[in-house]
């Protein structure tokens, strides 16, 4: 369990306790809202978890590096951005990968595009997002995020 998880759990535990002391009925209502939302999202989350496992199991870091390292120009940025949008890699793995790519001579644009879409655009999460916020919201947000990520990457390539 990470430090973040422990801190969040302790804080929420305290908030729950405080809430329970102040107003038992309200707290129970809040818990029932929490339970319903969790139950609603669970199948989609399980689906995403298995899909991520399958994806990361099949796609090796070496393969991703080779794709990012090769990419040049607008095409390379687009490929990197798409790869980042589709894949889901935890930050703790993604950043060392980006650093080693930069060292081995990959373009700043490609690496920035990859990292920005990786964190900002979650194609994997679309089933959950559209269940909670609606398809329209989800498609618009992800579409705009992809464009914004590309612009960020291009600007970074120009600045750095």
């Amino acid at each position: 369990m990470s430090v973040t998880a422990i801190v969040i759990n302790i804080l929420v535990g305290l908030a729950l306790l405080l809430s329970f002391i102040r107003d038992r009925k309200k707290t129970l209502k809040g818990l029932s809202i929490a339970w319903k939302a969790s139950r609603r999202m669970l199948p989609a989350i399980l689906l995403v978890i298995v899909a991520i496992g399958l994806f990361l199991g099949l796609v090796s870091p070496a393969w991703i590096s080779s794709v990012l390292g090769e990419g040049n120009g607008v095409f390379g940025v687009a490929i990197s951005a798409l790869l980042g949008a589709v894949l889901f890699i935890p930050a703790i793995l993604a950043f060392p990968m980006g650093a080693s790519l930069l060292q081995s001579g990959a373009g700043v644009m490609s690496v920035a595009a990859f990292i920005t879409t990786l964190t900002m655009v979650g194609f994997m999460f679309i089933p959950i997002e559209s269940r909670e916020l609606g398809k329209r919201f989800t498609l618009i947000r992800n579409g705009f995020s992809l464009v914004a990520a590309m612009i960020i990457a291009i600007l970074m390539g120009l600045i750095l």
């Binding site: 298995v50 399958l54 618009i140 960020i152």
Partner: protein
């Protein structure tokens, strides 16, 4: 639960009855698990990785999801609509946008736990652009994540990306909101 959920969530959700959506996800799950098992049996080394990655994410969900859900539940009973409208509603302006990003950047779990939070904020009268900013910040400028970025990519890369991200996410959210509201106007009251 369902009828209420239907009318106050974004409107595409009303069209399909919940049990059909549920069964779609379970069906996909029933499809993907045998595929994962088959791949694992054929390529044992890949199978090991698949199992390990899935386990890691499953545990992450187990540690974070209940806490964030409880937080959302408490928020929805204790924080009144007026407060949300005041700070994050359509009149909240640039300050609301920045506040949304700040809220999203606080140390938190995976992106998917933020979705029900966003839905709840919309129900309480938050502006669409602000909810989008909240989700985007949650996704890409989480504070613990930035620590890792700083460590590996150096301050120049991190600072440039952070600054550009905050500016572009702000602009993007305002544009995306306009697009979102184009057809939506007058159809339902959820977007304040």
């Amino acid at each position: 639960m369902r009828p209420q959920n239907g009318h106050d969530s974004p409107n595409d959700m009303v069209t399909a009855p919940w049990y059909r959506r549920l069964s779609w996800e379970w069906m996909m799950l029933a499809l993907i698990i045998p595929v994962a098992v088959a791949v694992s049996l054929i390529f044992p080394d890949k199978g090991e990785r698949i199992a390990e990655v899935s386990k890691t994410f499953f545990l992450e969900m187990l540690y974070i999801l209940p806490a964030v859900m409880v937080l959302m539940g408490l928020f929805s009973v204790w924080v009144s609509k007026d407060v949300v409208v005041k700070y994050l509603g359509s009149g909240s302006g640039l300050r609301g946008l920045l506040l949304s990003m700040l809220l999203g950047a606080l140390p938190t779990g995976p992106l998917y736990v933020a979705f029900p939070m966003g839905a709840m904020l919309i129900r309480k009268g938050a502006r669409i652009a602000n909810v989008m900013a909240f989700l985007s910040a949650w996704a890409c400028i989480k504070i613990p994540q930035e620590m890792v970025e700083l460590q590996f990519m150096g301050w120049q890369f991190t600072a440039t990306r952070l600054l550009l991200t905050v500016i572009l996410v702000g602009v993007m959210c305002l544009l995306a909101e306009r697009v979102y509201l184009l057809r939506d106007q007058g159809e339902s009251g959820h977007s304040s």
